[in-house]
């Protein structure tokens, strides 16, 4: 093979190795130094440039909301367990199972409403512009994902011939 071509290919390989090494080292170092696993609200502070006063208020709202959310989640989980036990013993969708599904849906709707109300309250504790951005992003992250899930679920229901 041509000597110049060998030199060029070797240099390219070396350059790729140097670049990749620097890239992964820097990425790893950044992740290790900047991750704050203990605080769930660190993202809010960094993303929306919140002051200590605003963060204190938002932390109070957050800690007041978490028990309500946990309570709703526990209710949903209990209803899901009941539904599974009903579905586990039968091969048909009984009226009791349909009733449980409705209860779960109602609980989910209540929980979602509670969650959206929390987002609104938190957004009001932020500067107006940041609040609007926060609300839009949280709605997109929660309801947008929910819509996708519902669409996929509706697609699955349409193609579920097994009984």
């Amino acid at each position: 093979m041509n000597r110049s071509l060998v030199i060029l290919l070797g240099a390219l390989a070396l350059a790729a190795a140097v670049f990749a090494g620097s890239y992964f080292t820097a990425q790893r170092a950044t992740v290790m130094c900047c991750t704050k696993p203990a605080d769930d609200l660190s993202w809010l502070r960094d993303e929306f440039h919140l002051s200590d006063t605003e963060m204190t208020r938002i932390r109070e709202l957050h800690e007041g909301y978490l028990p309500q959310c946990a309570e709703m989640c526990a209710k949903i989980a209990a209803k899901k367990n009941e539904l599974e036990s009903i579905l586990g013993g039968s091969t048909n969708l009984t009226a009791e199972a349909q009733s449980k599904l409705n209860e779960i849906a109602e609980l989910r709707a209540q929980c979602q409403a509670q969650m959206l109300q929390h987002f609104v309250t938190v957004s009001q504790a932020m500067p107006p512009e940041q609040g609007r951005r926060y609300l839009a992003e949280m709605q997109q992250l929660t309801l947008g994902t929910n819509e996708l899930m519902e669409q996929s679920m509706s697609g699955d229901t349409g193609h579920e011939p097994h009984h």
Partner: protein, 155 residues
Amino acid sequence: MRLANDHAGLRVGCIYEITASRAKSSTGLSRPGKNTKLRAADKVSAVLEPMKKEDINPADEKLGTLLRESRTFPALPPRFQQNVWRRIEDAEAPAKSESWLDALSALILRPRFALAAAAALVLAGSLFGALEGRQAVRHDAQMNYLASVAPHALR
């Protein structure tokens, strides 16, 4: 007879001198081995030199003809001298790169270029890596917050 011999020796000596001087003046070279025509002239002179001492007969018509022929030199090709010097310079000059690939490989092998390229690659890699790491940290923090306020059952 002695005079004739001396005269013949004188003529041959003149021919030899003329041959040498013409060879020098026509080429302008100080390296006689480089030119085949000069070598031919030298051979003729070398053949004639012993003859001037012993075996020259001025009456010999054939010898006279040969001597007359030996005086003639074929004309050198045009720009002969310049071409010789050019070939000498080309032979003594360092080897030049023949293609862009050779030029590029020669550039890569320069220590200064290699160091600069390595530094640029490390810098660019670190910069992109840090940006990507920052994005990953931001995404993880966002997911942490989202998991705390919006459990998967609601999303």
